[in-house]
């Protein structure tokens, strides 16, 4: 079996791309067992999932809307991974970007949209970048594990959000009505990102796809991007080559955070038009900061691969929401299923790497054989 893959690189490549799908199917299989334990028919349930994701124009538009933040976060994750760091802080960076851009929108309610929208998105980008730069700085200059620091930065961002939305940034209407739902006022309708077709689909989706192409060009066609990848591949070799390793680590995490921040800003201006909280990060982000990691893995850590991967994952989430409504299972089923997908996709990566290694070994041994043959006798 393996020998077959090794001799047919194209089949092997297809297997690479197919693997995350198989892993997701396996996770859905476990989910089916869970559904049966709750007396829900998994066939009906997953039928509802497909229907919810692709069943109508609106469903497909919703899938694209869900895919948008996932794609942007995945781009950030790609940059971090290529730079040799892991960014678990997408949730917090997304929240920061959303908060900062909302603040811009609330501060200048009477300015025209063509000024405020680009400004707010840029501020969101910077805010997320700032939140990512902190763990980057701590990693580069104080050797603090970025996995741990980004998790802590998530918690700090969430608590900060809860505070801001309950007190300083709360909707004045909520204060008067004394219901005090922790959310801001709705942003001026002039700031809504334009709708693309008469659905919920907005300009943010197109922006995210453009961003994916730009990130690809940045990482593979510019000197700065090359340096980030060089540090990710081999930090000590990069150091000998004269690349400033710590600075590139900070840059990788800052850029990673910036795209998560942009995702947050686009969620506000394209979809929710305000900021709100349910006390946890998930209420606003829908775990996009974590799911973006899986999307990035799905897309083989390539910015362009992340485009179809985000669409598929968006479909999974929209469909799962439909499933939950139709089957009347609690919303937490989706969180658990989400966790299973993460675990299965990262675990499946094992076979990809194993196959890659076998193939390399084969190539090397073939080269050895041919070079021996060339030795003049």
């Amino acid at each position: 079996m393996q020998a077959f893959f090794i001799r047919h690189p194209k089949v092997w490549r297809a297997f690479d791309i197919l693997l995350p799908f198989l892993a997701t199917l396996a996770a859905l299989g476990v989910g089916a067992v869970m559904l049966m334990a709750f007396d829900a028919n998994p066939v009906v349930a997953y039928g509802a999932l497909l229907e919810g994701a692709f069943g109508s124009t609106n469903a497909i538009a919703d899938t694209l809307v869900k895919a948008t933040p996932l794609l942007l976060v995945a781009l950030g994750i790609c940059i971090a991974f290529r730079g040799g760091v892991i960014n678990i802080g997408g949730e917090g960076q997304l929240v920061l970007g959303a908060l900062a851009s909302t603040l811009v929108g609330l501060t200048f309610p009477d300015m025209p949209g063509y000024l405020i929208i680009p400004l707010a998105l840029f501020v969101g980008f910077l805010a997320g970048g700032f939140w990512g730069a902190i763990p980057g700085f701590l990693k580069a200059y104080f050797n603090v594990n970025e996995i741990l620091s980004t998790i802590m930065m998530n918690a700090i961002a969430v608590q900060g959000m809860n505070y801001l939305l309950k007190e300083p940034m709360i909707d004045p209407v909520q204060l008067e009505a004394a219901s005090r739902i922790p959310q801001t006022a709705r942003l001026s309708a002039a700031f809504d990102l334009p709708r693309l077709v008469p659905t919920r689909l907005h300009l943010g989706t197109a922006l995210a796809i453009i961003a994916a192409i730009l990130v690809f060009i940045f990482l593979w066609r510019t000197v700065v991007g090359y340096r980030i990848r060089a540090v990710g591949m081999n930090a000590s070799a990069s150091r000998y080559a004269g690349i400033n390793v710590p600075r590139n680590i900070v840059l990788a995490l800052a850029l990673s955070g910036a795209f998560c921040g942009l995702a947050g800003a686009i969620q506000v201006f394209g979809l929710h038009h305000r900021m709100f909280t349910d006390g946890s990060a998930t209420g606003f982000t829908g775990s996009a900061g974590f799911n973006g990691i899986v999307v990035a893995l799905f897309g083989q850590l390539h910015p362009l691969g992340a485009i179809p991967a985000s669409f598929l994952f968006g479909a999974l989430i929209v469909g799962a929401n439909k499933l939950q409504r139709v089957m009347q299972v609690p919303a937490s089923f989706i969180i658990a299923l989400n966790g299973l997908v993460v675990v299965f996709v990262v675990s499946a990566d094992y076979w990809r790497r194993r196959m890659a290694r076998r193939r390399e070994a084969e190539v090397v041994s073939e080269e050895l054989i041919s070079s021996e043959a060339e030795v003049p006798t």
Partner: protein
């Protein structure tokens, strides 16, 4: 207002709750110390704690027997530890990411089971306080240290036990060898993956007990996201403690004292917004990591799956 914090009653209260609240940190961090010493980072502690907390609570609620509750947490924790071992050791998954998956699974699953079985927040009578003869009568000291429940005492006993097992036994030597130099350990006939399976299952059990200590000993309730980030801090405490049980003890105490202080600040209605107060332990964790990481080096093979000849 702030002056209210400095009365004897409140100070004794803060110290007593500090000692008590260190319990979940201790179980989770000590278990995680074994795992990390053997070279595996389990970032899913939070999720396992939630499942353990639910299992303990539900079993206690149904059977009205706290021992069966504790047993349920141990079994669930052990199974989750085994799952983590399969994912991280056998399938060699990227440990920083797989742990997030385990966390999300635990978060969703514990809530799902809670919704399906109990539905509303209930309470149980959990482990009750044990007054240590004579010692508990000492003014202040007795109230702070010797009027706690069994799971609290056991957590503190686990500190020297962990130190002894890791530092003075053959098993501990194997764990450290596998985490520092798996190739050498393998050459000497130590089963690298076998040792890592043991530490992961043990870590899972300890996380399960950590959850149980919340749901059937300290708070005696179960609700959605009961642990609220405690498991992640526990992982950070292992770094802070320099992978040493007594270091973990110091870290756990600092954090639980800060938590106790924060709770009392809320109880006394001192006008610091609750959200900001809750934020403090996380800020402290980052600062603690900056200071701690300068002192000690992590186990060399941490987060690196072992591959023979690789």
């Amino acid at each position: 207002m702030i002056a209210e914090l400095f009365t004897t009653t409140v100070l004794v209260g803060i110290l007593a709750s500090g000692i008590r609240l260190a319990t979940p940190y201790l179980y989770a961090s000590l278990g995680e110390t074994f795992g990390q010493k053997s070279g595996v980072l389990n970032l899913g502690v939070e999720g396992i704690m939630l499942l353990g907390a639910f299992a303990a609570f539900y079993a206690t609620f149904v059977t009205e027997n706290i021992w069966l509750g504790l047993l349920a947490a141990i079994i669930v924790g052990g199974i989750m530890g085994l799952a983590v071992a399969v994912i991280n050791v056998t399938l060699k998954a990227e440990q920083g990411i797989s742990g997030i998956g385990v966390f999300l699974f635990g978060l969703g699953m514990s809530e799902l089971l809670f919704q399906k079985t109990l539905g509303t927040v209930e309470t149980v009578s959990g482990f009750s306080s044990i007054y240590i003869p004579f010692l508990s009568d000492i003014p202040y000291i007795g109230e702070i240290f010797f009027q706690q429940n069994l799971l609290v005492y056991v957590a503190y006993i686990m500190v020297p036990v962990s130190w002894f097992v890791l530092g003075k036994t053959t098993l501990g030597l194997k764990i450290r060898a596998v985490g520092e130099n798996p190739e050498a350990a393998d050459t000497l006939g130590v089963s690298v993956n076998g040792v890592r399976y043991i530490t992961q299952i043990f870590g899972g059990i300890m996380s399960g007990i950590a959850g149980a200590s919340l749901s059937i000993a300290l708070l005696n309730v179960f609700q959605q996201n009961l642990t609220s980030g405690l498991g992640f801090i526990a992982v950070a405490l292992v770094y802070f403690g320099g992978w040493r049980p007594f270091g973990v003890l110091v870290g756990s105490l600092i954090f639980s004292m800060v938590n106790a202080l924060q709770l009392w600040v809320q109880v006394l209605n001192i006008p610091i917004p609750a959200d900001i107060a809750v934020m403090m332990p996380y800020v402290l964790t980052i600062l603690a990591l900056v200071i701690a990481v300068q002192r000690v080096r992590p186990p060399s093979a941490l987060t690196k799956p072992y591959e023979r000849g690789g």
